[in-house]
Amino acid sequence: MPKVYNWHIGREMEYPYEESRPEKQVAWVFDINKCIECQTCTVACKTTWTSGKGQESMFWNNVETKPYGGYPIGWDLSILPKLGEQVWNENNVYEGKTVFESAPQGEKVNGYLPSDEDYAHFNLGEDECTEIIEKGAFFQGIHKAWMFYLARICNHCTYPACLAACPRKAIYKRKEDGIVLVDQTRCRGYRECVKACPYKKVFFNMVTRTSEKCIACFPLIERGEQPRCVQTCIGKIRLMGFLSPPEKIRRDNPLDFLVYYKKVALPLYPQFGLEPNVYYIPPVHVPREFLYQMFGPMVDEAIETYRSASEDKELLGALLLFTSTQKIIHSFRVKGDYVYGYDDKGNEVVKVPFTEPLYIRPYFDGKRNVYRHTVT
């Protein structure tokens, strides 16, 4: 099996195909700390792409409550034990096995096929926190228990397990932007991809009898716009853009900046070995052991960097770009008290102030002879 380099795990690994990075890689940063689980993203995606037959319980975008929630049920709890011991050495190199390396004989990927019931409860465990909160308890500065919201889409992985497992080569990764797609004319519904994707982000449509997955809203991306889940995010937790190939990293590319320079956003379960391209800013109040398991060994540094954003104008500027415009931001610059975002031609597409201007109006509107309910 060919060897490819996976920078998330700091080493080469086995993958059924040779390394072939796209010209640029579609990528997202999600700031978990800001998600309010309003599910606006989920509904935006659902009405856009999965309102048809056989898609009734299919959510390309879902938001689940961790630690107990998961869609399909127990997806991560089911795959994690299959990998065996997951150890990182002191140089942040993963010493355990990926889903490719731990595949049983005769399989390309170590996976499992969920049952139909696993998809039947889209938000099981919603808002459940780790402990029972006593009656009368109130917030005293430290949370007594924890939970957080994990928004999930397909990671358009650099080393997709779905693609690796498809015996028909019906799944492909676009050279121009790294989007991973299932060819709906070639797929024959074997479900090898559904079984293989450890994130369970390829779905089987029992009416078309083919597998379907997130298409990264490529019709929007092709006209320079961010996907629907990003555009509609109420908590402004999302930023979509392109990661540059390793040799062409640019500091003024907000995705490169957050992921490669600041390392404030981390891949979900890097130990799976897929080099997933949705990067998460870890939730700051969650016990570190849980976060190490979920986001790898760089969690402490990421949280420290995130906490220092108020003193780092460039970082704060980049974070202010989240869900600030429909357009894809290819580069950004902080000037004075504003951060500017530019498209691929260098045209300004957004200007965000560091401090929202505050206007206070008099309580009484003399012209209309009424009292105002809101004065700011």
Partner: protein, 303 residues
Amino acid sequence: MSKGFVLPFIGTLLGMLVSCGKAEEKPIEGFSQEIIAIRVSDTIPLTNPDAKVWQEAPAVLIELKPQNMIPPIIQDAVIKQLTVRAIYNDDYFGMLLEWEDPTKDDIINVDKFTDQVAIQFPITPENPGSFMMGNKGAPVHIIHWKAIWQRDIEQGYLDIQDLYPNMWVDLYYFKKQPIYSEFTEEGVKMPRVEEFSPEQNDYNPAIKMRNPVSLIERQIPVEEAFAEGFGTFTTQLHQDAFAWGKYEDGRWRVIFVRPMVSPDSRDAPLPAETMVAFAVWDGSANQVGGRKQYTPWIPLKLQ
């Protein structure tokens, strides 16, 4: 003659028909290494495995092996043998395949797979190539039957409400007009996918693009394909073959019929001596694609 008399009489007659018509296992020593097709003067039955004409051909027992060479694999064969009869006349060639399978799997769902069987002929019999779906320069002709396809034809295209009879969806949302579910006197009426216009299948690109596995208006439960190696299975433009299965007493009996001479260059010729190979899938063992029981090439002689 009273009715009471007629019924047992018909019953006995039916019993006789069934018992003499059923393909009886002739005692066979082990597995056969070749298949002899017998020339018959009758027509080849399309759907009736109990037709007498099948008795004219010897039943040969073929060993099935687990596909454990090319991932994804199965470790062990759950279906271990196949009984084959072959007949032909001037126009058509027919095969009756039988195997034991305790469960009839004729639906597909996220975690449910269908029973299937396929036969394969070399397009160049003098150089048959790999029995695993041929190879470059040695293509193969595959005729593939699936239980789900036959169910689609017999009972209508399997839809979500067939899998979940108590389900409810308010509406399927479309650009021009949403399609609503209704409460009627007979109960809940959910729209069926057959009623959707092509535009309303925007959400189902596989149906809209006429993917051969997503055909809602399927007419025959079989698909003819061309292949030149693993992963190259391609549906043929011309569908000239037919197949029909019958499940009874824990046993599938599937008839395949194809023309002796086909104008389609992607259909294999049928000279006096050629090869044939088989593949069988058990749905309840989650078998699909390469996860199957197979046979290598077996000589096929038309007598």
